[in-house]
Structures are given as C-alpha cells and as structure tokens.
C-alpha cells in the first residue's frame, strides 16, 4: 500500500510528519486520486511493451580495462557499470546499496577518479580503466588502506566497506585527508549505517600519516 509520503529521498527521510488523523485523511484522499488516474494504468501497460521491445534493441560492444585486465563485452546501453561489474564480470566486491547515487557503496575508480558506478552507464566507460576493490591488493598483500580498516575496525557489517575503502584511497590521493574535518567532509559521499565513522577516520589518518604509497 502506498503511503501519502512520496518515495524515499534523502531530504524526506529526515523528518516524517507525525501520523495524525489529518495526515491519514490526506493520505487516503491521495491514494484514491492516484488509483483513479488512468495514466498510471496505461503507463504500466506501456512498461510491458517496453520489455518486449527491449530485446530488439542492440547491445553495444565495449572494451575497457578492469583491475589491469582488458575486457571486451557486449552490453545494453541501459546497463550500469555497477551491474556489469557484478553480473557480467562476477566482481561482486563492489556493492549496490541504493542504486541512486545516495550511499557510495558502489564507489569505484574510473581513470583514477572515484565515481558512483550505479549512475555510470557501461557504454560510457568504453576505453577507460576501472579499478574496483578487487584490484587494490597486490596478490596476497593487502593494500595499506585495507590493512588500516582491519586494524581500526573500520566496519561492522562490512556492506559499505568496499566503497569506503575506494573512496578513502581517492581521498588521500586527491589531497583531501589533511585533518579530521576535511576527511569527514570528503568521505561524506559514503554512508555507513553501522556508524563506523570514527574508526574509518582513524584508519584514513593512519594511512595518510604513515606516508604509505596509496
């Protein structure tokens, strides 16, 4: 059942209006209004048609480098880099949190810069170099940032961790890890629902101060 509140967006998650009778009435009125709108039904029908047409759309060939390995794939234009990494290349280290650019779990490096792979179309990384969490370690030797996250307990459930680590490495490379405040600001694109933030900051500071090559 749809609520009166429109879908999840960060600005609205903050403060839900109290569930007063008045709101409830407003809500029911809206539901009725929506249920009676023919456009919604028509749209749903359209969607099915789209799915059938979809197969007729051409897949496009792309060539790009992932963690040092050249890949040649055939992808639908609508496939995101995140889905291609996880589903076509079996690189499931990169996580899907929100799929809308709101959490940072999908952070990877494209040509050395951190981006949200959930909002990146695969066809647009043609010819580029992608690094994922799987590409940081050198064989059995973990990357200094991975070591630091282990040492400082920079996670609890670990779901946000690959994105945090990719972002943390970029944060130091960009020169944005000069103070706790700066680290917090430039790591704000990575949400951790377990709240491991203080430990993440400690890990980054240690790597930065240790002068390790990142």
């Amino acid at each position: 059942m749809k609520s009166k509140m429109p879908g999840t967006l960060p600005e609205c998650e903050m403060e839900a209006p109290e569930n007063s009778r008045r709101n409830f009435l407003k809500q029911s009125a809206l539901i009725t209004a929506v249920a009676l709108t023919p456009a919604v039904a028509t749209k749903a029908a359209d969607m099915h048609v789209d799915e059938k047409i979809a197969e007729a759309f051409e897949k496009l060939p792309i060539k790009f480098e992932v963690n040092g390995v050249q890949q040649s794939l055939s992808v639908e234009p609508r496939a995101t880099l995140l889905d291609i990494l996880r589903e076509q290349l079996d690189l499931t280290g990169t996580k899907k949190g929100c799929d809308y650019g709101q959490c940072g779990a999908c952070t990877v490096h494209v040509d050395g810069h951190r981006v949200n792979s959930c909002l990146t179309l695969g066809v647009m990384v043609n010819g580029k170099k992608v690094t994922t969490i799987e590409g940081l370690a050198k064989g059995e030797e973990l990357h200094p940032m991975q070591e630091a996250f282990l040492k400082h307990d920079g996670f609890q459930c670990g779901y946000c961790t690959p994105g945090q680590i990719m972002s943390a490495v970029a944060c130091i490379r960009e020169g944005h890890a000069n103070s706790e405040t700066e680290i917090r600001e430039f790591m704000s694109g990575n949400i951790c629902r377990c709240g491991a933030y203080p430990n993440i900051v400690n890990a980054i500071q240690e790597v930065k101060e240790g002068g390790h090559a990142v």
Partner: protein, 326 residues
C-alpha cells in the same frame, strides 16, 4: 529502466543535428538523468553522449572567466583561476552532492538538473512538472523542502543546485549553441518560475546545447561566502543556502551580490537587499536590515514555515562570514 539507443556523435554540429528529434536527450555526467531514468520519471528513446566534445576547459577571457559546459564540478571547484577570481563558485560547488558525484557532474548538467521534489520523483503521485495537468502533490502535501518565493498554484518545487546559486550571484552569462546560431542569456534569466508551465524549468529551447558559462571579473574575491543549511552537515540538499559577495572599502560596502537557494523554482537573486547594502557600513545591523528586505513577499506552506526564519538568519550569517565578522 526503459531501453534506449545510445549515440556519440563526432562533432558539436552532429550533436545539434541529433538533439532536434523528440524523445532525444543529452547525457553528460549522467548523475541526474540516469537516476530519473531508473525511476521512470523520464524515459528518452535516445541518449546523445556529449562527453568527448571539447567543452571542458576553464580559460580567462578579456572580461572574465569562461567555463566549459563539460568541466567537471570537482575540477571547477579546485581550479586555480576559479579559486583566485571566483572563490564563491568553488565554495558553492563543494557544498553540493558528494566528491564522487562531483567527479561525474558537469557544469551544463548541474544547470539542467531537475527538482528533487519527492512528488516529482514518485511516479504514483500527482505532479504538474512531471505530468502536466495531474496537479501538485506538494501544495497540500508534505512540503517541508519546498519554495517560499515565486510559487504558483501549479508548482511549489525548488531548484536544487548549489552551483547555480553561486553563478546567479556572480552575474554569470550562459553561452548557448543552437542550429539557429549561438546566443547568450544572463544566468538570472536562464531558469524560470513555474507559472502555468512548471514542466519547463528554464529558457533553453529544444535543440539547444549549453556550451559554457562566463563569469565577469569583479571585486568580490576577498569577501564572499556560501552558506548552506541542511539536515546533515554534508551530502544533503539545501533547506536554505545563501551566496554572498561584498566589495568593501574602508569598512563601507561599495557593491554587493546576494542569491538564495532552496527557496524558489530558480536561484533566487536578492536585488533589493543588495541595493540596500550599498554605501552602508559592513556591520551586522546592515546585514539584518538587508535580510529583512530580502524576505518581502515570502509565503510559506504547511511544513516549510521554518524557512521564513531560517532564510533571513542564513542571509545575515553568510554576509557576516563574507565581511569577515564571523
């Protein structure tokens, strides 16, 4: 997401040819468009990738600074010329989105981003901007994030950009290319108020391409500040934001620029408040007076009345920071 065709024309001319067809959309960083396509808010048949066009540079011109439409938000925010000449723009950019998103987002895309109104995003809700004629869900709904200036009974959404608030304050000019030739629009006249056509965000005509923005040189670089108030410290859209730029000499304000974000369907330039500051001492009293003037005509809805207090407070604070008093 609906299937679509993807093309990458070789030249700007070919891009202009391609985007004349209905159902065709430009893609730059993709951070807004791909989001909206995933949610079914928009469903183009064809995407025209413009990322290889030579529109990334940031160069001084005779009268100002020319920034290409494809310059990345992160690159602009750290560019030496921008930091020297227009630090306000850098501050506004850094207050927006996240480092990852800024690494993808372009100047042109930032200007063209759609509202974050949750009724616009939720395709099961009425929204005149998404589907003209269905009504405005926010008007009587949960309108905490919504506008207090320049609204219409059709739409009370706000323009979400931080960068645009900075550019509106700095008298930037939008440089546009089209099949009928090139043209320039003052930044403050680029975005529009909702009126009876909330589905149209701005005055870019169909088939036109933003090629860049030009910011005229000014004397504001010593005294400018961007202050953004939001639900969390970072990575959230503005409840209210203020771009403030002052030219101060011997404690007296010679010139001022002010614009607000999070309060209207477009970056909201505060012309009267600016005028009230000229010739006045750079003191908190002058700033409070300007803030009062800025709020004339403001109108709140059920859940956003807090903005009537927050906005003047933010204007005063931003001016104090710009003047070095905070």
């Amino acid at each position: 997401m609906k299937q679509f065709q993807y093309i990458r024309p070789a030249t700007q001319q070919n891009v202009l040819d391609a985007i004349t067809k209905p159902g065709t959309k430009i893609i730059a960083g993709g951070t807004n468009l791909v989001d909206l396509m995933k949610r079914g808010v928009t469903a183009p048949d064809k995407l025209v990738d413009i990322n290889h066009l030579p529109l990334k540079s940031i160069t001084p011109s005779k009268t100002g600074l020319l920034i290409g439409a494809l310059a990345l938000n992160s690159v602009v925010s750290e560019n030496t010329l921008v930091l020297q000449k227009q630090p306000l723009l850098s501050m506004a950019l850094k207050a927006g989105a996240s480092p990852q998103l800024r690494n993808m987002a372009t100047v042109g895309g930032n200007m063209m981003q759609r509202t974050r109104c949750s009724y616009f995003y939720d395709t099961t809700m009425p929204c005149n901007k998404r589907e003209p004629g269905t009504g405005c869900g926010a008007l009587e709904g949960y309108n905490r994030m919504h506008a207090i200036f320049g609204t219409s009974p059709q739409c009370i959404a706000v323009h979400p950009s931080d960068m645009c608030v900075g550019l509106a304050a700095l008298d930037a000019v939008v440089v546009i290319a089209g099949k009928k030739g090139d043209r320039r629009i003052p930044f403050t006249e680029f975005h529009r108020l909702p009126g009876d056509h909330p589905e149209t965000d701005n005055h870019l005509a169909p088939g036109e391409l933003i090629v860049g923005v030009e910011i005229p040189d000014n004397n504001f670089s010593q005294h400018s500040y961007y202050l953004k108030v939001r639900d969390r410290q970072s990575y959230a859209f503005a409840l209210v934001s203020v771009a403030a730029a002052l030219d101060i000499s011997g404690g007296v304000i010679r010139n001022a620029r002010l614009a607000m974000g999070g309060v209207a369907h477009k970056p909201w330039r505060l012309f009267d408040a600016e005028k009230s500051l000229i010739g006045k001492p750079a003191t908190e009293a002058s700033f409070k007076h300007a803030a009062q003037i800025a709020m004339q005509g403001a109108k709140a809805y059920e859940y956003n009345a807090f903005k009537l207090k927050m906005a003047p407070g933010t204007i005063t604070e931003a001016l104090k920071h710009a003047a070095g008093l905070a």
